[in-house]
Symmetry: C2
Subunit: 426 residues, 2 copies
């Protein structure tokens, strides 16, 4: 069976035409029901198929069965097995859920009655900075004449983030406290963040790792990716501007990072691969260890990305969320494979379940800017929402949701599911 056949239908009615999880997606995650037991599942329409139950019912075989057998409370063992196990699982799940197969409602749980968890034990979390328009917009606030650092077009710039505070959507966000100092203040004070922001990113889950000391060649780098998610790199801008010299962001970022809980596989995204957009004239070519013809031709992802805000006032007045931005993942300056190859280029060992953030993905045009810092130019130009409220930064009660959608003529469109987070008071 062709698991990308746009005409294929599932025996579960809610799957057919589902915005995020039709039969052609089959994302993987870790869920629990009222019994609290974490276990692997796949999203299908408005439901979750319990993969341990499918295994127990002998509906999985071979590599797919072995992979689910190995997974308990996390997907790390499945990630470690790489593409063959994922592909075997995808093929079997497609057949199992296809309308030509008998309905197996006993394997399903209503998603609305389940809790979704961070799908893997994250060994290390790394945040890249591959959104060039974001890097330029941020740089313009501090260095109007020279917004991009000289290394930007050579190095897929990144820094290490905090693995422990990565949480699954829709875990709310407690406004952090911290040291912050406004330019007009003599000395810093400790108190609630005054300039709380979101950042629209994609997450990249690492599959098979490398041996310590052994770089990953760019031609093999894509094989080390297990899947993708959405990632909100919540940022306390006032803490960030005070603490970050000279070693980079720390407490301004590590109080929480939110991810969408479903792992969208490379197999599901295959129809939405795209050429890496050509670099503008005058930009240097990537160094050889970061350049691969196949990666340049098919390594990027054509995904529509949207951010919405739902304020307390909107909810009280039954108003819908308002859009903050609409953009596309093609605005990343580096491909996911380039990020993997760069990360391992010094021999640093990656492991199954490591997580990368891409960095904030902004479009060239303001309608696709991925953080309030950019939209309000550091808080200097407040944004007016459709209901008349204004925002420099996030206020308590604001809920931010990231969305990603893959759509191409001749293919069933799929989505990532929301990455949601409500700001609670400090």
């Amino acid at each position: 069976m062709n698991t990308h056949d746009p005409a294929a239908r599932a025996w579960l009615p809610s799957a057919n035409g589902h915005a995020d999880f039709p039969l052609q997606n089959l994302p993987l995650g870790i869920f629990s029901t009222a019994d609290g037991k974490q276990r692997p599942g796949t999203a299908i329409g408005d439901s979750i198929l319990d993969l341990k139950a499918a295994l127990a019912a002998r509906l999985l075989t071979g590599e797919a069965a072995n992979a689910i057998e190995a997974c308990a409370e996390t997907l790390n063992p499945l990630f470690a097995l790489g593409a063959p196990a994922r592909q075997a699982l995808r093929t079997q799940l497609f057949a199992l859920l296809h309308e030509s197969s008998p309905a197996r409602a006993e394997l399903l749980h209503q998603t609305s009655a389940c809790t979704l968890h961070v799908p893997a034990a994250i060994g290390d979390y790394t945040d890249f900075y591959a959104g060039i328009h974001h890097a330029r917009n941020g740089g313009l606030l501090f260095r109007p004449d020279n917004p991009l650092m000289p290394n930007y077009k050579y190095v897929p710039v990144a820094y290490h983030g905090r693995a422990s505070s990565v949480r699954s959507s829709p875990t709310p966000l407690r406004r952090p406290q911290g040291q912050r100092k406004l330019p007009e203040e003599q000395a810093p004070t400790y108190g609630p963040c005054r300039n709380l922001d979101y950042e629209l990113e994609m997450g990249i889950w690492i599959g098979p790792g490398n041996q310590p000391g052994a770089p990953i060649p760019i031609a093999e780098a894509a094989h080390h990716i297990a899947g993708f998610c959405l990632l909100n790199d919540w940022s306390a801008r006032d803490i960030q501007s005070w603490e970050s010299q000279p070693l980079g962001p720390f407490l301004a970022k590590n109080f929480q990072t939110s991810i969408s809980p479903w792992v969208i596989t490379p197999e599901a995204l295959a129809p939405f691969r795209a050429a890496q957009p050509p670099r503008p004239n005058g930009d240097p070519a990537p160094l050889p260890h970061l350049f691969n013809t196949a990666d340049q031709a098919r390594g990027a992802l054509d995904l529509t990305l949207e951010v919405t805000i739902h304020t307390a006032q909107m909810r009280a007045n039954n108003q819908p969320p308002a859009r903050l931005s609409l953009g596309n993942a093609l605005h990343l300056y580096w491909t996911p494979a380039q990020m993997v190859a760069h990360h391992a280029s010094n021999g640093c060992d990656l492991h199954p379940g490591d997580l990368f953030g891409t960095g904030t993905i902004s479009s060239p045009e303001p309608t696709g800017w991925g953080a309030l810092m950019e939209i309000t130019r550091g808080g200097r130009e407040p944004l007016t929402l459709p209901n008349g409220e204004t925002r420099k930064f996030l206020e308590d009660g604001d809920e931010i949701t990231l969305h990603a959608r893959a759509q191409r003529p001749g293919h069933a469109s799929i989505g990532f599911g929301p990455c949601r987070g409500l700001v609670l008071p400090s």
Copy 2:
């Protein structure tokens, strides 16, 4: 029994007068013998006491027995239990090894025949920058008029490092490759690091964690520390200077971090606690959430720190290692408890087995500078070793060893055991 009694002797002769591991130290670690099975042990003289064997022989009871029962291949469960379990274990091990007890040679392994492992599964690794003389020396290279950033005396500056590449001494170090660009070069190239350096740091092992979102009050911060080690934050200076803007060091640091494998407990170090040296006139007081009278009075550590180099030529000529620096941990600007309180001050959750580095510990005087970057002023003033060799940075075949020693009148002196690493060619 007083586990600090300087007159106390062990039934194992090699323990008595041992430079690092007399009866009064009793550090904890994870070791394996030829069978490859990782298990907890304590260092005593030239041997390791197998704690699982001691448990099986019913020589441990109560909380100590429960703690060792819970540990398999890592010390994380013991770390999670905090001071009561550690203290119970210390008291029982002291009695078990004391000369008044029967010798139990069947529980011992020669350390030289064992492999020592990273003692905990490290959830997250954070590197601080609390060595003010190092920060000033580094800053002087780039900003002669303004070496310390304005935040330095308010913020225990830190950044996230890579947990996956923390290795136990004496794992050798492969010279990393990476992107580097000398100021006189037009564009960067990818190749072996040309300016490889070490950094003398202490490591801090985290014990009991905090709930997500809940800061740790400074008065309680010390209770979250399970122990200490030595830490060499190997640094590729040429990669670092090219990649670090604007988000801090990444590949320049994450190819390997070496630690000494024994966890020196807060109980063993209690006699070597000291007052935090007073801040120079004009320095601001710590903000209230980082200030605690008891911590200022007893939160620092009086430890002599030494770095030695053993080059290939020295080894070939049977010459001893040469000292690169001799300093003291009292030169840290922030106490370990201040680091813990700062890290959790935004609600970031810490977990048992997290590791902190203190940052490079340099003395005010050049004989105690903790990295070649400082000693050779960025490679501009080569160092001449006693055998006539010179070094700007590390060469292949150089072995760097860090040592820490606690010594005070009226107390048995203890050591950390070496943190060793040999530089292998790229």
